[in-house]
Each structure stands twice: as C-alpha cells, then as structure tokens.
Amino acid sequence: MTKPQAPIGDDELMAFIDGALSPDRRCRIEQLARHDDELAATITALRAQRKALRDSLDSVLVEPIPQRLLRVAPPSRYALQRVAAAMAWIAVGITVGSLASWQYLSRHDSTSTELALVNRAPDLPRFVHQATVAYAVFAPEVRHPVELGSAELQALNAWLSGRLGRHMRAPDLSSLGFSLVGGRLLPAETNKPAAQFMYEDRQGQRLTVYLRGMAQPTPETAFRYVGEGEISTFYWVERNWGYALSGELSRPQLLQAARSIYDQLST
C-alpha cells in the first residue's frame, strides 16, 4: 500500500518528457504511470509528439545549403582592403605590361585575383561537395573508374603522396569486405589537389575515400554525416586535412568504414 502522492504538476510532466528530471523524481512518475492509465496515455502521446516533431525536420539537416545562404558574407574591412590591394597590383601589372609590352603579366595577375576571391569562401562545405561530386562521377564508371589500379599499389601510393605533399597509403578495407580498385588525382583548390581511392565489394558496391589539404586553416571536426540524394558521406578534418568517405551504404556500415580509414590515415 503506497501513500497517496501529490499529483504531478504540468512543469514536472514537461521535464519528465524532456528527460530533465532527477532520477528519483523520474522514478516517482514512472511508478505513478503504472497505476494511472490516463497519465500513461498522456506520457505516450507526448513522447510520440516529441519524436514526430524531431523526425519531421531531420531531413533539413542533410539538405544541401542553398547558395544564397552561403553567399551571405561578412562586411569585412579586411576583405575590402585585400580587394583594393589586389586591384592596385593589377594596375601595376597593366602599367608594367603595357610599358614593356608584357601582355602576359597582366593576364596572369587578374587570374590570381579571381582565384583569391573564390578562396575566401569557407572551404569545408566546398570540400564536402567536391568529395560527393567526385564519387558521383567516378563510382558508376565501368571502364576507367581509376587512373592507377591496385595492381600498381606502390606506384599509386608514391604518386599520390608526392602530388599531395604528404606520406600516405591507400587504406585497407578488406576486413569490411571492400577491396581496393585503385586511385586517382583530382583538381580541387589552387595548390591543393585531391586524391580519391576507390573500393568495391563482391556485389560491385563502391566506396570512395577523398582527401586533400584544406585551403584555409580549418578547425578539426568529429565525424560528420551528410546525405545528398542516394549518396551518403562521412567527413572529418584533422590537422588541416579533409577526409570524406562516400557511398550508397547504410549509415552504420559507412561509419564503420570511416573509423577504419581514420585509424589508417591519421597524420
């Protein structure tokens, strides 16, 4: 026989639903609910409502961010100074160029200014986009999925290490049932080319690992997940290197592979 207990207040009920109660107060409500069908039904309904709310907008998190939001830029004096400096240099270039008839010099200058402007946009979203696009382009490729096949593994490792300017080896995913198909070099940022390794399981399901140096100092991140259509990507940044694993696998499968790659490629 239990003592009659005070009824549950609205606030307490809310805190219970949101998991904000201390264990003993939570227990009290759970006990009460066992003997009170109406309370139990209310709790069930509120929990379902909370979950439905969350689920209803889950997909927004993995939608590609619209360009107009990425374009909102800081009104930076610093940026203006840099543009002004760049323009001054173009002027110098043109003057020198016309004086000495060095047409080439002025053209060369304006190209690097354009690149400098592109490079001011945040690199991480661009990195993830590039990785996903690289998967979308090469994973369905039948005849030339890679530039250098796994038969020439040593040459592949040496070549990509040289071009990316760091030592690396194609990660081994055989324990997960994926064998290396090969790899390729890809254009990405100025002076920051990217490497892509491709893997395949027995059913022909493909995964790609994409990595490059970040174009700007970028804070390190934990594993992050993004889905674009059918393609899922886990990505992370470590010591200014970006890594992305893309494929059309379930999230847990992909995560497992991402962990293995993380262990193997850490600098």
Binding site: D10, E38, A45, Q49, V60, L61, L69, P74
Partner: protein, 181 residues
Amino acid sequence: MTLFSHRITEQIPGLRRYARALTGGNRENADDLVQDTLERAYAKWSLFRFGAELRPWLFSIMHNVFVNDVRRMRNRVPVCPIDEAVAIGTPATQENQVQVREILTAVGRLAPEFREVLVLVSIEEFSYAETARILGIPMGTVMSRLFRARTQLRALTGEPSLSDARPGLRLVQSFENRPHD
C-alpha cells in the same frame, strides 16, 4: 574572421531547421529568415564574445528577427503551404509524408511565442535554461508555454487534450493579445 564565418556556416543546417519549424514548413520563408539572421550575425559579430557559445547566440538573433517579422506582418503569420521538399532525403512513405505535413502545419498554427519554445526544446534540444536565455524570458514562462504548446498541438493534431478535467483549450490568436506571461 574567416574562422568566424566558417563556424557560422557550420550552424546553417541547424538554423534552417529551426526556421523551417517556425514557418510551419515553408522552405522559402524559412530560408529568408536564415538569410536575415546571417546578415545580422555578420553585422554584429564584433559583439560576439569569443569563447561564448555560438549556437545559442545565433538562435537568439533568429528569435529577434522572427519576432520583428511577426510584428511587421501584423499577425498575418501565415499558415503556409508546406513545401514539397520537406521530406527530401528521407525516403518517406506517403503516410509518413502526410504526418510530417500535418504536424508542421499544426506547429505553424500555434502562437509564435509558443512555437518558439516548443521547437527550441523539442527539436533543437536546448535546455530550459538555454531556451530562457535565447528568448529573454524567465524559465517559468518557458515551462508554462511549453505545456500549453504541447497541449494545443495535441488538440490540433486530432488527439484528445491532456485531460478533460482541465479548463478548455484556448487557442491564442495573436502575439500582442496573448493572455498571460
């Protein structure tokens, strides 16, 4: 500054989700809200204390933008048509999509200040204290609005109210004429 804009960019998906809920699922209106928020954040970034948490700061800016929008619209807060694209990314069954529409439409019908509390707590999972700081209201008000929001939402989605013994639900129609707090 680059670092700062990078950190802001990282917050965009979360801001878009909050905005989507506030606008009852309308993608265009939601992204307008996000864009205004980002512009304000960049304009005010010198006021941001480094080391403080960026996420609540951005959400409080969005709250201010949203409240201004609501005022400007003279309470013509639209019960907007839900964007088809709401369910992109999750291969949803039709039934599932209908549920998604229903619940977002219902959220869009709640009074704006109820909507904000409900979404910050239930979807964005801010604590009651954080929610109170973001909205600039006492924690007790957060709790009471939360209870009322959930009760109203149940009624709007066709569920019986929390208890028949409770006083009948009153749907709050306007931001200015809200009955308490």
